[in-house]
Amino acid sequence: MTRSREVLLVLLLAAAPGWAAAQTLPAGYAGSDTCKVCHEDIYNGLAKNPHHQLEADAKKGWQGRSCEACHGPGQAHTEGPSADNIRNPANLAPAAADQICLTCHLNQPTQVGRPESSHARNQIACTACHKMHSTDQPLVVRKAEATNKLCASCHLNEWAQFQRPFHHKLPESAMTCVDCHNPHGSIRPAMLQSFAANDPGCFKCHGDKRGPFTFEHAPLRFEGCQACHEPHGSANPRMLTRAEVRFVCLECHANLPVSSTMPAKVAGVVPPSFHNLNLPVFQNCTVCHQKIHGSHVDRNLLK
């Protein structure tokens, strides 16, 4: 803080008792107007933020002292304008910073999945994504491009996968990371969104793959779409995990006879079939087994 601002602060604080008396602030609190004297740009940023309702809504309990809802009582900071005299969530351990947010947001739907989310487990604080009083960024970024940019700022590897030719349309800003992942956590692995109640969120857009099918393809139910697909992006057509379809299939359907008495048996290892893989027609299993996601009609997924 510059010398002139310090002088200005002292002059303004000289008048502060009058304001405080008018606002009847609890002991130790300075009030938002006092904060605004030095932190006008931050205050103006907060005014554009939904948290500004704390300033006006008496029911919330922070009327006239919205800054101190997160930063704690500010009287000491006004008397000695040092950063050590005020609580700054950015300097706290992420879990401690989150507890400030959870003072109000604990008992909300987002909390149900939050403790199990990889964000919470890896100490990613709420403020890593949500900006409380930024003048150029809202509380929650909504534009697809901005949302993806925010996620990609940490998840560099995942964003690199979207640069591959076959990908979901995130670089084109037609989709966002949040379309598939719930950043607050989910009951599904990888914080995947769910569709309907407990189906994978993939079915929100791929409804024809949802079933239930008379003849299911078990991996879809047991391990999800990523058993065969790279959901972020791939150099392989249809975002497959392998360059040719037959190898996606053969790695499970290996034709190795497995005794049912083996202690660690695995599924799908059918006894030998006699397709000649040297013939092009058998090199892509889905030419015939076209209902690979499950069939309503045929047990061999042929139609």
């Binding site: 950015a90 300097n91 706290l92 351990a93 992420p94 008992n107 909300q108 739907p109 149900v112 999945g113 199990e116 890896n122 100490q123 697809a144 700022s153 940490c154 998840h155 560099l156 590897n157 964003w159 690199a160 640069q163 591959r164 076959f166 670089p171 084109e172 989709m175 009951i187 309907a196 109640a197 407990n198 929100k204 409804g207 079933g211 239930p212 299911e216 391990e223 058993a227 392989n236 057509p237 392998r242 360059a243 190898f247 790695e251 499970c252 290996a254 034709n255 190795l256 660690a264 695995v266 799908g268 006699f274 092009p280 027609v281 892509n284 030419v287 076209q290 309503h296 009609v297 047990r299």
Partner: protein
Amino acid sequence: VKTLLFIIGSLPLLAQQAATTSDAASPVPSTEPVLTGSVDLGYLWVTGVGGSYDTYRSIIDVHSGPKLLGADFTLADPKHRWFDSIQVRATTWGAEPAESLHVEAKKSGVYDFNADYRDFAYYNFLPSYADPLLGQGIVLDEQSFDTRRKIAALSLDIRPGHWWTPYFGWDHDSSSGTGASVFVSDSNEYPVPNTLRDSTDLYRAGVRFEKPHYHLTLEERGTVFKSDQNLYQGPGSVNSGNFSAPIFGQTLDLTSLLAAYGIGGSSAYSKALLSASPTSWLDIYGQFLYSQPHTNVNYQQANTGNFYLQSQILFYSGEQEILTAAAEQPHTTASLGAEIRPFKHVRIVENWSTDRLHDAGSAASTDTLLSPFAALPLSSLIATTLATNYSQEALDIFFDASSKLTFRGGYRFVWGDARYAFLPPAGLASSDQQQLRQNIGIGSVTYRPAQKISLTGEVEGASSSGVYFRTSLYDYQKVRAQVHYQPLPTLSVSGDFTLLNNQNPLSGTGYEYSSHQESLSLYWSPRASKIFDIQGSYSRSDLKSNIGYLEPEDLSQQVSMYRDEGHSATALIDVAWPHGKRFAPKLAAGGSMFISSGSRPTSYYQPVAKLWVPLGAHVNWFTEWRYYGYGEAFYLYEGFRTQLVTTGVRLTR
């Protein structure tokens, strides 16, 4: 689209009128709705596609024409009469592969309304994917499609911010189009055109209760689903299929086909979410989700030609099949967890979850084979079951050694079983069952010595005694490390590293998988100069996978080897003309590239350059050039390259 373009194009004029009113009324604050935001309108040229147009459509699929290139504006009502604000965002419209429109309207404490609409083109025609006839010079993807998928969602929250909030929603997802598929008979397959159409409607309603010490959400949902697919070949044409070799001197062919699927379904869902904080050191959370979707199917098929049934050494000239089927899938998911804070620096997170899915299906069919001499009816009744029960118990302990350093240790036990069966048993595999048992240990550390630097490392290792599939994670190790450093307010550097090793040494599997990926990004924006900023990233990935299998024809031992080493980079530099002040033109140039070697060597380049020229306080003219180049070393005929040029104006308020 034209209507939308007109409406959005006219909004800046409306805004100007509002602003004029506001200026005239100054210094009294305006009470009229205020519009702010921007709209991009322009024209896009695709300057010819060299190489495979089908691959271009499968990956890019942009077409020339006038476009609404984007819109993002907010209409605010200072009087808060019907709304506080309405926000509208739209991405490219005008025969585009991905079009979207999003509208948010809210009035504080009264309602919160969201509408989302998207329209995606799904086009895929890649002969390398499924063309058994390529050796005969026939270029055809026998599993291709050209469809559009439309997705809409509406949601309305009543009394947001109050202690109880009812909400309602409707989601719609539909697709229609054409494609190529295959009609499979016993000894040949015939590529035929097909039509595809499906739609799902989801309705939901619920209520949220939010009190200082607990939260409860109760929700009911229902869906209606239908799907119709038709395979058709008109009479009078001869389709020789994928096998032209004669059987016992006769060639097989298809001369007419009509196969029609009529699939309908519905479901009901229940959802309950709970969180509570009974004491200052304990938070409890849980959820219960239940669904029971079911489908009913009517399938009819009539085909003529010359066919062969190998199991009965029978040639036949026609077939009629009628099938009815049904499937039901009760699915229950639940979790219960707690966060306990026994000491100031210690947190314990305990969670149990389960997922139980039981699918039951049945199909009854009558298949009549017609020959010049007789009709052979074949009837069947098949029942199927598939069930999986998955459970997980997880414990994590967090220790805040200081405000800058946090350690975490955890343990997770995963167990489950799965089984499926066909009745009556027939064919290859009629029943199977597996068990899942995994012990997983986790450790992580987060270190933030200063606001400008953070390091996170996480290690996960597992040992399994049972998994569902040969390629499932068995004995695996996962590592992830991230670093973020901001040495200057204008400069930041980030790094990301992931590693996954998975081994399944069991006899008959012998699976070895390893992958790692490293990325580095840089952002530099010297604010003092305001002349340029630079952002760039580079990523390298390496994947190796080996797993054995038996060649089906001769049962010889083979290894499926997959290799993929990829390099991708993105860069963008923004330069502003230093002496132009308010009307300084800006140039952005950069793009992305990807090259890989291994099992499917591929290159994909997307350089881009964009010029902005301000024409006035609220009008910018821009022109963008973009190049796409795609190549595959093993499938040269699928490469393409093209250039896209876009020019337009941005109108802002």
